[in-house]
Symmetry: C2
């Protein structure tokens, strides 16, 4: 039986909405997700988990309380747990994210997006 | 203070050896690594962890006891814990890997590569 790899670019063609991560795989209880983002997100933090960002296309600015990070295609950054941060995409950016299963993407269940598989 | 993103392509220029993962970041006790691989690896499994593969360049075949997986650039696959598998790279392949800190890449401390930061 043939197993199937996850093609990131292909997954990114399946939806259009921003700030709505879609699960494409799991790794040890973490959700591996793709997302399209545009504009400014809210300042937030994750108390109990690091926050993994990998840029597939576009340019992403992550403001953090420790300084700003700029990411282009093929670049990754892990925001340490507890660190306030705010992703900003001047133009649409496509990213790969990793967060523990059930972690609210906004750091707050009240404002978090519902994560679904694609 | 400016924080620095990890440029995967740049990291991959810093070493040449095969089957010797280099750590570029950590995420919740996991090591995010880049590696160059060529030829056939050994059949092995990780009893207590999934095994995350993302192909940066080249074409990777992962034989598993559940079937084979072919990965091209921009494709990922997570080998579930406990599943026997063997990566094969007919030509050199550049990959991003995620494994728990200290996990032997061969599944066996006796044959594992020493992982160092770059």
């Amino acid at each position: 039986m043939k197993q199937k790899a996850v093609n990131i670019a292909e997954k990114l063609t399946l939806f259009a909405e921003h700030w709505s991560p879609k699960i494409v795989a799991t790794y040890n209880g973490n959700e591996v997700m793709v997302a399209k983002i545009s504009g400014e997100y809210v300042w937030h933090k994750h108390e109990d988990t690091d926050d993994f960002f990998f840029v597939v296309s576009g340019h992403l600015l992550i403001e953090t309380e420790r300084g700003d990070v700029e990411l282009g295609p093929g670049e990754l950054y892990v925001v340490p747990r507890g660190v306030m941060h705010r992703p900003i995409a001047e133009h649409e950016v496509h990213i790969l994210l990793i967060e523990p299963r059930g972690e609210p993407n906004s750091g707050d269940p009240a404002t978090a997006a519902t994560k679904v598989w694609i």
